[in-house]
Symmetry: C3
Subunit: 606 residues, 3 copies
């Protein structure tokens, strides 16, 4: 595992750089990320480049034996560029261009912005593509973050119409697939399909899902062109990646990670609720580039951040735990964010390894010793036996139609994920297009979209003796967000030997028997044909005694959503008991590793 | 009582229609509403009509012995029409036209929209006006819903100025009546009176009240022209109505219901808080077309909806209860919404009598047996002895000046309404222009606007030996929302022999003695001349011992707002005791009917 | 102490005026404020003035022996003026002009608005400047209220660029001072520095702080020109002032108060949380015109208002307490708001001394007797020994970077203020430029900006044997909101003999020992060199035993924020014990006065 740090030498006097690099070496680092917000410094005015400082940085880092991860600075175009081309700014739903004075405020569809982005990328590749000190490239920074993937400008309007035309061919095909007859929404032509701006009530769910896919596709297209230019200009094997904010839902992380074969994410545990949310996100991005792909943490929190509600302190041992957690989740690299706290700008209160005054923070020594510990441990990669099916398309569909205010795809998956971890097991979080047959058990707690490909994938997994467990409201809609007119789960009802007759939102106290666990917010009512009933609803409501979990030949349908019921079902399937506490366990080679998030203890036993 | 269902045949293959109609007959229905969102299907492009499918629908329904309620589709103009005439879209306060992609997004003032609406209405009337299978007409759908009654376009701006000019004649008259000298708001001319867009602080309360009246008037005008065209083209006696969302406050429901003599409302109990809120709304709309007018439920919830926070299941017997509740509240018709759950569009998660796959929902049989039960019961109409005065103008005035964040006219009325129901009595909810002398007791819990007509109406009722009980803050403002400079209640203080010297908002624990009940959020302090004191404030505050309820010759003033105090006062007046529980009682003919909302039991005793 | 009332004769028939003035005399008043919203009445159309009514008012008030405080009506320009010059309306961030129909909706930067404001001011001064009945002038009304200080129009855009150019000279100097290299925000020229409109994430903190200063400066400039015209046209010694809403943070109250040497504020206790918040605001404005300057309450609540959430009643004795509270806090004048409740407009529910119908409210007699009581008491001015440093610039910096959602400068100061009051002591609230050496103890609980002037001021105070106590996060940023690269507190660390190594936001249960008091939301971690440790952190966290309060030669650093810890530290310093309850104590001459806010008792002992 490689370790590194994110450094902004352009924000500090050059006289200090040597000291900084010495301290990085002392810390045991391998990698230093630089440059990703430095466009204004690299090109102070149109066409005039100032390479000297970056030449020095790269050379010095290289000479110290570390590798540079070089960022393309396209997330922060200079003011002069945004003044010269105001059309590149993101336009909001009301038609107003977002003011500059931040980052990621440019439209990723804009031809001008794409052209300028490739121009600066080309310049960087031209100058540093062959530089041996450059050990990797980061394209852009957190695309989609700050809700930047959806722009509402005229170029996006046209691009969306064309994207739909490419997809449907004729407007009649679109009208038919989307069911625009509902509320007389029939479109006369593709130009009349507009971006789904807020209106009196919500926009059509098919339009909204298409827009989510379009926006993600636009980001991937934008990144792809930079990937191609860099790949063509660097030595083979040099990793190229784009770091995504760990929780971002605007851009399909798998599509991004598969551009270069390396996933990378920015890991900020203080931005999420529990240590298991962090674990979930680590497992989500770990497989983003493929079941055996590479995964990096491009930014790792080690001290207080400045953007949460309370921005609390970080106690002794917490940074060590976070680094170990990423190592045990199988990450290939981790770069600490950031080297030194910034004196200026929007992140003044974001701590780093060094204080604003240049002295080491308390955590500095903790990071050094942890790097050394992890290097010594030489951990093998995880080999999970359980996979959980995750999909951005399902996530968007549920965002559009949550049916329960505030409910998300993530909430539904997390209930199952937490149950797997509570039994001391690893969980892979995979796409439905990944090889499901590679696992003993596959859980699909929120797989709403039914497609022939998905049905085939499940059938292949079942044929490979994988048990497949579907959660509540599985396979209820089609690719275009239309509800199925077939028995539910659509396309698998016959195979299951049962059908869902009421996909019910529940506000009564319903349990799952014989386990006595809560059913949760959804309770699919099942009508059984040839399936075997595994569990039934309880709780003195009209559901009492009706089937809740049914199974037939390896395909199981669980009508509930609550994690305790997931845990009971999985305990039943695996014979394992819950390990309790806020504890993660990892079987790695012959060793059993344990992280106790309460005591912050990390232990190893054989 | 007639029963029916809302059907969207245009959303389903024609081959299925015969099956659907057969099932409707089996259910025991009388009416089928169709067509109200089908403009795009009826007129796929400008001037080209496609009547075939609707001909078939109407003919088939008629042949099956059911009557069609035909909707005019003006709530959902087709995309081609909105593209051709972008000026018809509602404009928001900021001057932006609302995007299409929903419904009710067109300005009801727009001359173009009105012209186009009459064009499609004329076409429908021309084709089906004389068709014997058409048993009724619905004009538009839920006007005012989604806050659609207030548009801020240039046409509305001009129309508002003209509406004011018609009302006041001269700008001096307006300035005088509104008191625009406050904060130098004096208008030089009618054109300078602008729609009350949000500004630094709130807009002038007289302007805001006028705007509410104007907006409601515009909707009524818009509907009236359709009513007239239909009335002229159909057989006498054919009911014509416009369905309003049960809670809508944007359009005066009485003005709408009196256009055609039939009130209709859409009844969604899951959209309100308690069963008594549903009861309140049923009683509100039951008299909207007149004390003896007709009232329909045009849409009746029987299963989960898709637009509340939780959208929970509906237990066994709940749909039966809802249908019985409307029958006991005296409704003449009830149409279940909807026939079959929609595969497409914004209501995919809204259930109907059939599932998306066409099979009957659990509630199907329950509805069938309930229709039969209710038909057998042959209930006589309610004859309430107590009336509660309700007025949209008071409601708007309180919305503008609630004096207590979140307080509404509805809150104040509901306290009194709940007290009446808690004694097992029916309550009529009536306008101050209705014949108040027809009741034994009239409650006016929130009658803020003092006008000569209202004073005369109260005096007529008193002369007819009706007891009139005014609530806190009665008769404090005039027609233009100016506070009175006379003793309060303005115009009735002499008649009462007392005056309100402090219309106080209360945050102390004040009681009403001798009943020991809470006073509530308002406690009018009274100075008594010749009135008799019925009750006094208690509770160890400065109010202790001062008069709270006073009466003189049939006119009573109750200075409180809380329902327990209303209950105590009414118990005192009627000699009845509270019946407890979530129970409604109805004396119908010789029978006493009881609905227990907790157990969902409906019982009849003699 | 002078007493007065705010009167709007233009809202009432002239026949009533004599009665009103008689009643004012009966009440014992000295002053009557008139005219501040009457522009439309004074100048009904452009250039045509109607002075008659105001001549009569001023003459009648003067003849009755009272003095008029004459308001310039610039907060409410007439409709005809706003129609003729739409460019004077405030423009919001989106570029939309705010609609008229309220007050303070005009841009204080607008050249047209400034010209028109001086025109009406000149007219008033010309007519009444020498009138002996005019005892004082109020310029405008509550500038900055309703967030009116920050306008986003083109004139403001240009003015801001010029303001920055005046300040920095060159764009390089600005880029350097602000650190715009962060996120490539480097500006090519002053025109490219735009007003900090909302964007994807927050705007640069240096830009935001500059904008806050600019906006406050603009208001002061706007007011200054009116002050100059009035000063030039009235007799020497006539007070001129501008009333500010007590809590307003948009305009530096000291800069305003020092324009004319008289502070004035509008005191609405129902708008704040506790009686001590009112005390805090009284003390804040009491010194706004200088440590020995004059301070007026231009509007004093005595009854229910109409703009809070509940607008509750005001119990017997409460108005008396409020008037006494302002007297004991050293105020020179207090004018009750308002004379008679308005029938019309946005304040219909705001009570006054008279009801809408012209009869006296319950509080009328209470006010009369209180004026008499206070006049008899002849209170000397307060002479506090403790001062608390307050600064609008620190307040804005913390608003920009609260680091903890919702935290404010006011919150931090109030913790210390409440502690001082809890020991029965007066507290002055002073600027860092005021003479700190005039106090025995100076607390700076939230002094974030480190400047050479401030360091010098503290050193002068220390040299004068004043103990200076800095709170958590003192001196962390510079004048331009850049974080210091020196040891913290920046510029005083050496003097203190200690430095802050972690300015930590705390979510653990940390105490201060030996006192056992809570540390609060921030716990600065200190590294001690030559300082003495006064107290340490406790509480079973990693902070346990580390220094929390350190001191060296009169300079103390308190790393906590909680009021109980402030109280313990001050108890330690003064030897006093907390007095408990909701009690304020005041040593005035030989007497000790006590206000008990719970019982509303005011007592005097020797």
């Amino acid at each position: 595992m490689q370790f590194g740090v994110c450094w902004y030498p352009e924000q500090w006097p050059q006289e200090r750089w040597a000291t900084d690099i010495e301290m990085m070496v002392d810390l045991g680092l391998d990698l230093v990320r630089v440059g990703e917000f430095a466009w204004a410094r690299l090109e102070p005015e149109a066409g005039r480049f100032d390479w000297g400082w970056l030449d020095t940085v790269i050379e010095s880092v290289g000479e110290a034996g570390l590798g540079v991860v070089l960022g393309t600075p396209t997330a922060t175009p200079p003011v002069w560029l945004m003044r010269a081309h105001p059309d590149i700014m993101i336009t909001d739903q009301r038609g107003a261009r977002v003011p500059y004075g931040s980052r990621r405020h440019t439209c990723i569809t804009s031809a001008t912005y794409r052209r300028e982005s490739l121009r600066i990328t080309d310049a960087l590749v031209g100058r540093y593509g062959a530089n041996p000190a450059v050990a990797g490239w980061q394209v852009d920074n957190e695309p989609g973050n700050h809700d930047s993937a959806r722009c509402w400008c005229d170029e996006c309007e046209v691009a969306f119409s064309r994207w739909l035309e490419d997809r449907f061919g004729t407007i009649d095909a679109l009208n038919e697939a989307w069911g625009t007859i509902f509320w007389s929404q029939t479109y006369p032509d593709f130009d009349s399909v507009r971006l789904p701006r807020d209106t009196m009530t919500s926009q059509h769910p098919a339009l909204r899902l298409a827009h989510r896919k379009f926006a993600s596709d636009q980001s991937v297209d934008f990144l792809r062109s930079q990937f191609e230019r860099i790949r063509a200009g660097v030595a083979p094997g040099i990793p190229i990646t784009t770091n995504l904010y760990c929780e971002d839902l605007n851009v399909d992380a798998r599509a991004v990670a598969r551009l270069g074969g390396v996933a990378s994410m920015d890991n900020y545990p203080h931005g999420v609720s529990t240590p298991f949310d962090t674990a979930y996100l680590l497992d989500l991005h770990a497989t983003a580039s493929g079941l055996d792909g590479q995964a990096w943490i491009m930014e790792q929190q080690v001290g207080p951040v400045n953007w949460t509600d309370e921005n609390p302190q970080v106690s002794h041992g917490q940074a060590r735990l976070w680094l170990w957690q990423s190592a045990l989740h199988g990450y290939d690299a981790s770069l600490v964010f950031r080297w030194r706290a910034a004196r200026y700008g929007q992140e003044q209160y974001h701590t780093g390894l060094l204080r604003h005054d240049g002295t080491p923070e308390r955590v500095f020594d903790e990071v050094r010793s942890t790097i050394s510990e992890i290097n010594r441990a030489a951990l093998p990669k995880p080999k999970p036996k359980i996979a959980i099916v995750h999909s951005y398309k399902d996530a968007w569909a549920i965002e559009i139609n949550p049916h329960r205010r505030g409910l998300s795809h993530r909430d539904l998956l997390f209930e199952a994920y937490r149950a797997v971890r509570s039994l001391g097991l690893d969980a892979a979080i995979v796409d439905s297009t990944d090889d499901l047959g590679a696992f003993e058990i596959v859980l699909a707690p929120a797989i709403q979209i039914s497609t022939p490909e998905r049905i085939a994938a499940i059938e292949r997994a079942l044929a490979a003796d994988t048990e497949v467990i579907l959660g509540a409201r599985s396979f209820v809609i089609d690719r275009e967000n239309a509800w199925s007119d077939r028995p539910l789960p659509a396309g698998l009802s016959d195979r299951l030997g049962a059908r869902v007759i009421e996909p019910t939102s529940q506000n009564l106290a319903v349990t799952i028997e014989p386990w006595g666990t809560p059913a949760g917010i959804w309770t699919d009512v099942l009508e059984v044909d040839s399936a075997e009933v595994v569990a039934r609803y309880g709780g003195s409501t009209y559901l009492d005694g009706s089937p809740a979990v049914v199974t037939r030949d390896g395909l199981t349908y669980a009508g509930f959503t609550n994690r305790e019921s997931w845990q009971a079902l999985l305990a039943d399937r695996t014979g394992l008991s819950p390990i309790g506490g806020n504890i993660e366990r990892f079987h790695r080679g012959d060793a059993l590793w344990t992280i106790d998030h309460d005591s912050r203890l990390i232990t190893r036993s054989e």
